[in-house]
Symmetry: C2
Subunit: 873 residues, 2 copies
Amino acid sequence: MLLLSSVLRRHHRHHFRRILKSFSTSQLSDPPPPPSPPPLNLPLSHPTFLVWSSNTSLGKTLVSAGLASSFLLPRPAPPLRRRRFLYLKPLQTGFPSDSDSRFVFRTLSSLSSSSLSPLLASHRVLQTSDPDRVAIVDSDFREEFGGPGAPAELVCETMFAWREAVSPHLAAERESGPVEDSAVLRMLQRRLDCGLYSGVGEEKMDAFCVVETAGGVASPGPSGTLQCDLYRPFRLPAILVGDGRLGGISGTISAYESLKLRGYDIVAVVIEDHGLVNEVPLRSYLRQRVPVLVLPSIPQDPSIDLRKWYDNARGVFDSLVEAMLLAHLERIKRLHEMPKKAGDVIWWPFTQHNLVSEEDVTVIDSRCGENFSVFKVQDDDVITQQFDACASWWTQGPDAALQTELARDMGYAAGRFGHVMFPENVYEPALESAELLLEGAGKGWASRTYFSDNGSTAIEIALKMAFRKFSSDHGILNDNSTERCTQLVVLALTGSYHGDTLGAMEAQAPSSYTGFLQQPWYTGRGLFLDPPTVFLHNNTWNLSLPEGIQLTFSSRNEVFETSRDKSNLAETYSSYISHVLEHYPESKGLIGALIMEPVIQAAGGMLLVDPLFQRVLVNVCRSKNIPVIFDEVFTGFWRLGKESAAELLSCVPDIACFAKLMTGGIIPLAATLATNAVFDSFIGDSKLKALLHGHSYSAHAMGCTAAAKSIKWFKDPQTNSNIVSEGRSLKEMTLADLLCDAGVVGSPLGVSRPVGGSCGVAQKRGHLCDNRKGCLWDEELVYKISSHPAVQRVVALGTLCALELRAEGSNAGYASTYARSLLKKLREDGIYMRPLGNVIYLMCGPCTSSEVCFQVLTKGFSPNSVVSGIDIT
Amino acid sequence: MLLLSSVLRRHHRHHFRRILKSFSTSQLSDPPPPPSPPPLNLPLSHPTFLVWSSNTSLGKTLVSAGLASSFLLPRPAPPLRRRRFLYLKPLQTGFPSDSDSRFVFRTLSSLSSSSLSPLLASHRVLQTSDPDRVAIVDSDFREEFGGPGAPAELVCETMFAWREAVSPHLAAERESGPVEDSAVLRMLQRRLDCGLYSGVGEEKMDAFCVVETAGGVASPGPSGTLQCDLYRPFRLPAILVGDGRLGGISGTISAYESLKLRGYDIVAVVIEDHGLVNEVPLRSYLRQRVPVLVLPSIPQDPSIDLRKWYDNARGVFDSLVEAMLLAHLERIKRLHEMPKKAGDVIWWPFTQHNLVSEEDVTVIDSRCGENFSVFKVQDDDVITQQFDACASWWTQGPDAALQTELARDMGYAAGRFGHVMFPENVYEPALESAELLLEGAGKGWASRTYFSDNGSTAIEIALKMAFRKFSSDHGILNDNSTERCTQLVVLALTGSYHGDTLGAMEAQAPSSYTGFLQQPWYTGRGLFLDPPTVFLHNNTWNLSLPEGIQLTFSSRNEVFETSRDKSNLAETYSSYISHVLEHYPESKGLIGALIMEPVIQAAGGMLLVDPLFQRVLVNVCRSKNIPVIFDEVFTGFWRLGKESAAELLSCVPDIACFAKLMTGGIIPLAATLATNAVFDSFIGDSKLKALLHGHSYSAHAMGCTAAAKSIKWFKDPQTNSNIVSEGRSLKEMTLADLLCDAGVVGSPLGVSRPVGGSCGVAQKRGHLCDNRKGCLWDEELVYKISSHPAVQRVVALGTLCALELRAEGSNAGYASTYARSLLKKLREDGIYMRPLGNVIYLMCGPCTSSEVCFQVLTKGFSPNSVVSGIDIT
């Protein structure tokens, strides 16, 4: 651990130096490594707003100065308590001749002089591309006005400044080299902390902050990222300076919509009066819910003293400040009351409300990519970031870029289709996603896509399909028979879970979920086999057979080798399965379907079932004409490093169910894929022979749109840099990769690996160049964890890294609250985890960057955190 | 019928005269009646595009002229076939000094002269606010160039023109009075028809059309509706003229997003070169999928002859025309191949694929409010409009305005939250929608909201809740018992339907849906009672008792009177139910829950169950401590004229299920509401006592956002003009209302009704002033239909108007294909209907305007159409 952490620290230092260097030397450097998430920690004690504008030159800075004057120089009397107004301009071009922070500084200085209201004001520029004024340049660019002791203080800061009066992305390209988004966010975070909290001492102070953006809402920042995307992790409430000119209604509305599409809350719109009463249609569009304020016409002549204008506009700015303060207070109030209200009116799934106190409730203010923004009441109210390590019940896939694209594409689908009826109809999203499913997850075997709403319904549909196929193959009924002559059951594995509806539950073995208390109608219609499982323990991959025999493998990939089909074990499996099937009494029913979760049994405790066993099972069933269902609800779409787990198993089903990650994790949708042979068993002359199952929102346009988008996104190396093997796998992540990514070791990623040094261990295992079974978790650390005494077993595959903690008696199993203290600690550390009893896991998205995976794994599963979080004595 | 049709025609004439009048007299008239939908019928044989711009003055008209020149004056040789370019400018302000169509006309005339390419060009203005040039003014405003026989023809038309150079909504307000959206759309439709198809004769011709918008994408049209909303019913493919200036990246992207949010397809973006390489970030944003073309810098001096510029820009315009033609051809190709592809890869729910030929497949290009836009291959390819009269499996509620707002709000929810984990967490949309549900549909009884994905899962959850409550009330198990000692069954009604999953199916009586062929595991765990039903036949509301006794009512509202509780019938019901319950053998199980669809059994055939019977049933069960579940999946949220059908029944359940219309009909989400007493039976110390059911997307943010929005929208008289009785009911619709609305009869709506004349019948029935049980279908026509010999019974309530056709033997029941020919005919008439066997129905949304309801009812259920559509001999 020590070694790893220090490497990581070194890497970060290196990284940071490189940013500084690139900024100060005007040279284009190598493309930067993927940005690590900014350490978001946003205090809510003082109102902090973004000032956006629908275009350049609409008066953002005039508005900022007006807000400052209204807040700092209140009328008729000076403020009762000390006040500080923090004005931040993260990105300034055209500098030094243009400087918005200087404008605010000078305007307020002038207004303070003429109104005889004492003010302490400062203005400084932190980084500039000017070669004579390199890097942190406080001394060069600092101006001050007034003196200490004034009840009102103005702090104006420009974070990054470039000379040329063009968009920041162009200026950066030409003058400083690109500046990473994370560098901007980190500095913004720091300036907010310093500006609002430093030098306050014991004295109570009211503060107010505005962060003024550059250009329009979607103008690029210095990395090329649009500013509305760049600042999104903070999701600060916003005001929008709109356009009062001819054509301005349109620009204002469009800018508003771009901000809404990214989840921003806009508290007020301000426009300048141009005599066109643009505020009337704007208010009508906003349905009177967002105030539209109108500023008096701004003098065009730059020589005119603006003091008179500010005097005239005073009332508007007072109203604006009031609206902003009110919105801030309402937000805080709502955030505070949400846990109690939730506890009062909501009935959470899978939750014993008696065990959840008000303090346990997580208030999620938003999500951005893999991270929640969570409201916390600590010393102060604060919004902090938590990595969603349970992928919100295994649904999540989007990084921040995909989330934005999905928001826009789903908006498009809603705008174009709303929802439209499916049967006998066709519309683009349904057709496109059906085609993509058959070309992707169903490739080589599936011919038909049946849509439903969630994994559970997809399973019930699959069961109906399989039983019909079986009945028709085995001559159990002709078309006209409706007699209930035969009892059909499934062949399934102990520890499986196929969803919460009764039909899906019937296909699982008795468990904590199936008791009379939970499922009064459950009978367990199946023959349930105990499957052999594979796991990592003490640096070794083990196979645990039900009889208690253990075998070992030299590597995880060996587990998946199809050459094992020729082993003695395969024969043992085969005769065992055949034996059990042949001895199943017909009085209990005919086995009409095999259903299983390929490779990983998720809800059962993240158990890796021996792929050989599952492959043999499929072969035996096929030889007996028993249809095979794969429940890929959890395993599908790269969850395990392949588009489908069937690929990992190297065999195909007759029917497979997909959901969760299928839409990228944004909206419920499920699909049951089937072969033409299955489909044909529903074909006939009567509607009564058709599959009479279908939910109202079958193949809803928004869900299908999201599915089509996500399926393409995840497998395209252009959008998912984790994709290797010509789009067939997620890459295998090792420390070596990380160092390659970060440029510490020069080998190109995924082609050859570095040798020696800290990568020696990985090299020794000798299978790292085999990229066929990808995993995003650092292998070395995973091995290390597997030998910790508190850890019973580890499974790491694709986006999943799970471990079972040693536990006995009531500490084991689903009802265990064993990991509770660990979870609490991790959430404080910025990792949102949710256990399966004494099984804990980390899950990322298919696109999650290697750096983030590494950080999460280091934080979440370092032996230290596991040990300190759990009392294993 | 004759009478009704002629009234309707008269009304339309009147209406049209009023529009013309208002346009030509510059006087503000009374607020116009709700617009009727335009008769959308858009031929696809020639490419037709909208030209949008992100702001005014970016060169839309230059681009239009460039497209015309590229298309009409191809180089090096003239076109082989005749060509026509239709340029339409629907809205022109600043006229006559500004006239974009004149600019296009003159530019092309000049380019044709200088290139010696023969051209026939014309330019005219159809309607102008100029008082000297009233209404249709072809002669005054027509200009022509060239002569007949030229291989290329340019037709330039301005539809509406105002003098002042301001936004059309202001100009219209000041000069002509508002012009309705429907008037603009109707004229646009007509101009497209005439311009592209008239005078063509036998000769083959290539045509191309652009419709140039005014100002920016979201600039208001003459009624105040934003243009991107105004033109939405046509959903023409578009090109966007973006902004190459400083700040222009942002404006272009935002305009693009506003168009996408409304479901438009943008084929290309064009910007003028200002030396800022704005195309680079634009291409990156568009991920190279939409071409971004750059025009040479446009001369600023208006005296400069633009011919040289057009020469330089020629290559760009050629590429643009090519991209547009290609997009058009690809669209047509895809639309053509979709039915076959769908038939190949999709497995439709509730569909016997054998009975669906390629020609039967409806290709839905989009939906706007209540209407589908459907692609049809007739003589020519065409997009036509169909009213979605089955409300897409009873889900639909949005009018066009709500659809747009939902698209934006769902985009916001996706941008802000994506999806986040629910248990033990709280986030705004989940909390807000839970609160709204408890204050609305659950008011007065429900205390907890349990979210799931669809009606079926909501029902399974409800069953689990009810059985637990029953078990705990009746001491069947203590916390530790898991014995399956007791068989629990439901009390339910024959003809009910509660969803497609097995648990939900078990709660319904044996039916066509439950045979072994469909549900191999179905056993029917219930005591099923035959309910008495109410229906309209031959002008009379009848009660049909299972024994064959029929009673009649003086009006439908009498059916719902709670005073019936004191009738002998109530006593008869009560003792019947008690008797049946008491004689149900315990060996078959204990009755642990009552489950029923309040008021209307939907899938069962739109049966109106006697409300008195249901009320008595609830009371009897309550007296025996049997929990009561209302399945409001179909009936909830104004489907029957009240927010919940429980209100109609005048009694409350312990548990109720909602879905479908809950989100306004845009996305799947369901809720099971319950009392605190039900909730308490899950409280304990162990997680195993909790309700262990929960789908991955439980309470997903987009669904909850849509639900919160729609719940508020439907009951707010500001957004739903059908709401009366202080937000408690949908209004009762009669011909009298319609005439009131249209201003033909002067009485204010809903206060008093006109007497005499054609309204005499309604008046005679004497209960029309009672608004408590609303219905949007014209009562007089409904009564008339009920006496048609082909019609067995009619039920009209809220948004539902259903009728059962007389049928015998195999023509009756769900499998009947009896109504197929009627459906075909109706779809040709613009009504998309889907039968339940021999039961056919019309369904509108809670906000559908009275005019539209009237038109749909007249078209859909006029005795003529019913008779001609069905061969009843």
